[in-house]
Amino acid sequence: MRRNILFYALLIVCIICGTSAYSQDKFIIVNGTVVDKESKQGVPGVSVILEQTNKGLTQTNGKGQFSVNVPIGGTLLFKFLGFTTQRVKITGATNINVTISEDRTALDEVIIVAYQKRSKETTTGSSVLIQAKDVQDIPVSNVEQLLQGKVPGLNIQNNTGAPGFRGSVQVRGLSSLSISGSGNESFLQPTSPLYIIDGVPLDADKAAEFGFQTQGPGVSPLSLIPQEDIENIQILKDAQATSMYGSRGAYGVIIITTKRGNSKIPRIRYVTNAFVNAPPKLRETLGGNSERQLKIQQIILNAQNVNDIRAISNTPFLADSLNAYWNNSTDWQSVFYQTTYNQSHNLALDGGDPKFNYKANVGYYTEKGVIKNTGYDRYNLNMNMEFKPNEKFRFFGFINGSVGKQNKGNGVGLLQSGVAANGQASTLLPPPSFYQASGGVLSALQTLNDNNSRNLRTNVEARYEVIPGLAVSSTVSYDYTSDTESTFTPAAANGQFAKVYDYVGRNYQLYNRNGITYAKTFGEKHNLFINTFNEIYKQGAQAGITRQERTPNDQLQGPVGYDAYNSRGGGVLGNYRNATIASFAGSLSYDYDKKYVAEFSYRLDGTSSSGLENPYSKNPSVGLRWNFNKENWLVDMKWLSYGSLRLTWGQNIVPTGNLQSIYGIYNLNGNFNNNPTIGINYDLVPNPNLKPTTTSQYNLGFDLGLFNERISLNFDTYYKKVDNLLFDRFLSNSTGFNKLASNDLGIANYGTELMITVRPVVSKDLDISFSVNGAINRDVLLKLPAEYNGQYIRFDTSPYLQHNVYRVGRNTLSNYLRINQGVYKNDTDVPTDPVTGRRYQANGQFFLGGDPIMKDVNGDYILDGRDYEVTGNSQPLVTGGLSTNIRYKNWGLNLYATYTADRTILNNALADRIGIMRDPFSLTSVVPLNDLDIWRAPGDVAKYPYPYDYKRFDQIQPLRADQTLWQESGTYLKLSNVTLSYMFDKKFIKRFGLNQLRIYASTNNLITFSKYSGPNPENVTTLGRDISTGYPVPRTYNIGLNLELNTGN
């Protein structure tokens, strides 16, 4: 504080004296320190430049100090990448302090477009930049989680709590309608954005090709990136920005830049987090005698004849209440769920200057799942170095090695069906003990599951500027992942026979990019930038499994293979891949005085998986930008910091088919004349005309910064059309083939994104900033193959019968359900068929009071498969987030909230929960239903039907999953992250040899505000189904420490 007063006093003196001292051309030696505004620390490596000569005088040392010889009256510029440039006029004072702050000027941001760093001012695409500090204080296994709610139009739903797995990510709505699986396990094919890590593309969907039934470790490649190592994350949303990334950029592009060395003296930084994961509130269960009483009462009240009541006596666990085996009150859920204590450590070493810098980052992250016997560990060693001896030559290389170890227990990661089923066991059963435990418990807790994903990613990049403005560059990278999973199920958990499962997979990507860029300024104001490059990918993947059903004993866990009869699996799994992609891309960008910008780009992708007729996909784009704040008539407006309008159009083309859909499948069909014959598989007719999926997008953007950027506003509206989506057409049987893979599906997304940031207070001691963003996205099905006549129903073959319907002109993923209109108050409320005189019925049972009112859609007084209607929208309409950042002196408080609105969730978990009551004779637990609005006696107006009538249950199915009773609004506001941090005073910690010390407490998934009746409206599948077999999202409490060692003297 004292120093600050001194500083201000000096400044004032300088200003007063400044004018008089101007004309003298005398040299003095000025000493000083450059301090970061936020950390209050000296900033090393800041260039000190004399403005008059534009000559670099020196750089600050490790403590941020400098000493220069300057003429009085000259102006010193303090420049540092990522910080605002400060200018100080030399008036004679020999000791000055300079405070620089991080550069927040939105338009001066440097963003990466088509692998080139560009000033945001001269790019036309829609992009958002997230800084490291926004994603650091919450320990997560996958940094993607923390992007939630920070970027409008980037819809992230952290819908699984399984450590190491990913939630769903969509940029600007739906891009695919491909659903696999059935019922609860219906899985919408993820269309994740393309991730580019330090210039190298990465396939984030890699571990998701098997849907919920993950094969192998299922570790997302993103889970292998330590969040501490991230410098910034940039999200490109519109087609102009992404079209240069070709087919893989169709779903948006997310560019992650890791930290670079940037300190004259080596810095050692250490981050550690200790965090607690608490399972969410579990299902309430009636224990022990309450369970027995409820079941007996249910039987007596709903018995239809005396034999039903007699059945109680024949059911030991109900009748024999004094038997020690049946006389328990076991909390089964606590057997499977736990609160876990976890930690992460990250040690980073970096140093260097713009000419040569290096970084090494060692990380360890461990998280035990809230379901026992699950968890995720990550080990990292990331290194990079940059060598830039002069402006002409630059060399950059990195090597990242990581190991992700995952334990999925006996589930498949995203689904934990075994735990869900066993957690529902009757409380009357004895708890698992040394002497006895059920197979299900053992299976969940003692299955040895060892998953490893070992990844090595390397990259070298060189750039040489041949003549000023013309540069050639080349990048080669190799990315190799080895995945193994081995599961050993002990004999006791599997019907007295031990079981072994092994998965071995590998995949690699060799990637090369060579580019030429040319930048030229004509006549001072005409700027031209040309960027051309080619890319070659060589990708391969192969995986196989082996399964031995019955191994001799628990001691022999492998290698096994003694018995062919019990061997399952083998062969190569369906994710085999051997692909080559070659691309050429070029873009031309022109701006007039950075006022009018025009960009044109074109990219050609050749892949082997497009049809023979369309081997090359072409990705053109056009973008225009008008920075109207630079217009003469606005340049005087002080309140307008910046303002621009952007208009872009672009196309991304994604090959959708595979070799089978183009060429057909050929099988060995036995022998003819002792020669093996090969014939075509008649299921699928080859389609050489298969077209790639075309995503074309218009974007209109508007950026505005007001009052010295105290208020900044970002608006985008877009129309995105996804055409030629793959869709099976069923052929007339006279063709001999069953179906044709065709391209006749199209969807459109249109919407609006808005982001407003307000910084009401920006001062030395107090900064407040508040930001709100939101996106509305509507999707519409544009077309279906002609013979479908505008509607296609994807029938659910599971007992849930929750069908999906695609109807042209409607939101794409609607449910096809029976319409629930309440509960019949009395028997007399059930309608009667005027012709037959029969009551409304289902499966031959008449509806009665307490049964659900299910809309008789066709009016035949029979509830059957014809009484379905299109309803709901499983995709959220509105998503967004709120954030507040407050800094007061050394304290910091960050709040991040996200929201999702207008989405339909099918609360299958509730249906299953109430449905537990369907059979009082089964050994399952019972749940208290007091909290629910249930019909109990004639005359009750209720929401939920009477669940206890077990005799009529199977006919009436009052709790059937395929009704709109379970359709609820998935609107929620989640206060996800709260971080409170304290930065210790630098002087104080210096005594302990530290340069920086910051402690913080943070939370994740703190509170969710929602009217939704289930536990968590976010913890649902991408099709909006809240499944009871899912992995709950834990609440995290964290204490972290951030320190930097003082390695200088």
């Binding site: 505008g790 002109g809 009667t832 012709v835 037959t836 005189g837 029969r838 008449f846 066709n858 209607e869």
Partner: protein, 376 residues
Amino acid sequence: MEYGKNKREKLMKSIIKKEFVFILFALALFSGCKKLYDLPEEKDYLSNNVNFDNKVLEPIIGRNNLIGGFNGDNSTQPITFEIINARFGDGKPVTDIFQKVPTYVWTAPYTGFETSLAEIEAKRKIEEHQLFEMRSSGQFILWASSTNQLIKPRPIDSTNFSQDTRFFDVKVKNTGGERLIKDFQIRPWRERPYEPADDVNLYTGGPAPDPNNPLDKRFKNYIRPYMGNVIGVASNIDLNDKGKNQKENNLVVYIRPFSGGNGHTLRIKALNKDSVEINPAFFNETVWDKMIHGFNMQKTDKYVQYDVAYPIPLVEVPTFYAKGGSRAKAELSYSRGAFGGGRTVANFGVDFAIYKAGDWEIVFHFRKENPKFASE
């Protein structure tokens, strides 16, 4: 000069402001306007595959016939169905089936627990309906008010000539479009006021031929009851020994109208071989008051009579009086002393339905040999 510049600036400012407002407005408009993007309108779905399981309808006149079979292939409801172009095969227009007549419709469910005729009548009402119509489910209805007089049944010679068959087309329509399904046929069966109608020829309405002598016009078929342990007086063996009643037609049932009732009565009686009424008191094990859902039971020494609501059963639902739902039961039983001092129970009866209101009697006729009531 200075003044002019200011003015220009001000003008500029206002233009800019206007422009800003316009731009913002335009942006907001852009995002909300679906039409701009030329998106397809959502339409109801009408499948190309809508059809009916059966295009030849064979309802029975005089009963409520509900004929389903519409297969909408998940077409969006509501769908409207329209019967058009009704004609005979030779082109003559068909109008008779579209006559409007009063007919009973149910408004509340019949349970079998009603305690008076009034309570039953309160559950149904009379409405005007076309004799033949379709409802929103795509089901065809021929109402019970139809009679042989109102609708000419199929020819008595069992031919199916085109000129005797009513044809029509159905137009299936929702907002997604319409489909025309052509050439339905209706071939109504003549009235069959009761079931089982074994004694009636379905084509002519006359007596049915005896299955044992189908060509001999002297014989006819009868409704035969089920019977058990009914011992003949003369032969002293079971009258249905080895199913012989099937051949001998000893015990037969007549379901026939009688005169002198109040228009909604049902009478049950038994005749001996001289066609003389057997006193119902002989059927000492019969539960008369719980046999028929009737009221005001009158038990004479010739018959037992109830006031009933027609049709019987009123609704095809399982009730106390009609276990299977579609047939009521008239069962007489009696007991007598058996060999060895015990009692032996005999019974006979018929599961029946009567569709036409009136005064009906169910007559069990021992045509050749009387049952033995005396103890052994």
